[in-house]
Symmetry: C2
Subunit: 289 residues, 2 copies
């Protein structure tokens, strides 16, 4: 369909109440890196929200068909977004019947600065907090208004992205990414109980680090550990691994991470991640899910 | 327009990221009760999110025209929802340009139990918390997924609505309503700093209580004050004042409020509120905003 043409009902609860979920994925050479965990997370979220994905809809087949057509149209490298909402309904929060809306968008990948892995980015600590005890904690729902505001605030302060703390002051995540710190010889990342989403790239990076013999820890990280970190990076499906070389505090102070350039652990993981994506999305991958 | 026909772009950020705001209002006899504060709140939220409401769009005139047509179609009593989103955009959280989407829906009012004021309702304390320190605290954004889950959980526990605590354990609000407690001779309601939205009905009830000589307090309320409360009620634009006669705790315990029926303060306010709505929406109201 032509995404510029109107397709959605004004009554769609995805629009009226953010009553739905989504996945953002990266297609490389016509294949999606780790499609399986993305679809698993979407299905788990739909089950938690009691949104029934229509029985007659095979998400795997839908994605495969869309990727095929996109590759034919010259979009073998793409940003792929799969959205599921509860569908149209009259007013009220009560979640009744209806048929879920499923939208698959294949778009050209966003253009990040080409030297992001050499120069790194700046992240600003958001003034608002992420709620690790929300009803929807751990679900990738459509409710991204807080993340939008955190990113807008960060940009207004000259930063490229936000770092968001949970309500107890622990590091949670970036505006739409997971966060990692190199502390001594350990690679640490917040646990899901601190408001981190269970990111697909996060899981891949934890795997890769273990494979490289790097000690990893999923533990609560307090704000002052940003200062102790030798390296910091953010992970997400579209941007991959983004080294953070400068942190702007919510009080206005600034912090240079390490020597102000991406460090050796980050660089090793950037390389290993690129290789992993190449391997798993290669046409010779032999069906590795 | 026919709301059953597709009208919205799949790229609308209201659908993809809950990047927008809304107001729900009650039309009575073709007039909206307190339209001005609803539109003011919407405009303030749009300013906070940096969403530009198109200059060529007069919201007051739009609402007036829609109400006129709705009354002609037999919908003088209606639920009116005004939604503003940032409009269509390609992927990414960054909030760039585009033209805002403005949707006005006039629907038949929801049917609440006719004896709600005599029998009251049951509210269940939600297992998840409301984030009083969110970036969007105090804004009526489209991000209602948490409220949807809180209501679904409450209904699964046999209750009619949810009571949600903030991250520090103070009472915040209902799933989409403000909450009031009668404590001794005082009518108390959580302040906005505890995650309460600045409800239009909440403000009207505070006004009415003062007019009736009832002491009012906006202050942080802890959970055990539910047990001390002689009366509890919820307020919202569509349902008005809903007496809460039973509270189901998140640990499974139950609490009967007062003698299990709407108390005298609640009943006095229900009557005064109905009279206020009648007066202000009457065709002889003489333009009182």
């Amino acid at each position: 369909v032509d995404p510029a043409l109107p397709q959605l009902s004004l009554l769609d609860r995805g629009f009226t109440l953010a009553d739905g979920l989504f996945e953002t994925m990266r297609a490389t050479g016509g294949a999606i890196f780790r499609l399986r965990p993305h679809l698993d997370r979407l299905r788990a979220g739909a089950a938690a929200l009691h949104i029934a994905i229509p029985d007659d809809l095979d998400l795997d087949a839908l994605v495969a068909a869309a990727l095929h057509r996109a590759a034919d149209a010259g979009l073998a490298d793409a940003a792929v977004r799969l959205t599921v909402s509860r569908g149209p309904a009259a007013h009220g929060l009560g979640a009744r019947g209806g048929r879920a809306t499923v939208v698959l968008l294949v778009q050209p990948p966003p253009r990040f600065a080409p030297d992001i892995h050499e120069r790194g980015i700046t992240a600003a600590i958001a003034s608002g907090r992420r709620n690790e005890r929300a009803m929807t904690a751990g679900l990738k729902t459509l409710a991204y208004t807080d993340a939008i505001m955190a990113l807008a605030e960060a940009r207004a302060r000259g930063a490229d992205d936000a770092l968001v703390l949970d309500t107890e002051g622990h590091l949670a995540e970036g505006s739409s990414s997971n966060v990692f710190l190199v502390l001594g010889r350990t690679l640490a990342t917040p646990p899901l109980s601190c408001g981190a989403l269970p990111g697909v790239t996060r899981a891949a990076v934890l795997e890769l680090a273990r494979g490289l013999g790097i000690a990893v820890a999923e533990r609560a990280l307090v704000r002052r550990e940003l200062r102790a970190a030798r390296e910091i990076f953010l992970t997400s499906s579209l941007r991959g691994i983004a080294p953070v070389v400068r942190v702007v505090g919510d009080g206005g102070g600034e912090l240079v991470v390490g020597d102000g350039a991406p460090g050796p652990v980050t660089r090793a993981l950037v390389e290993a991640y690129a290789e992993l994506v190449r391997r798993e999305t290669s046409p010779y991958a032999g069906g590795t899910p």
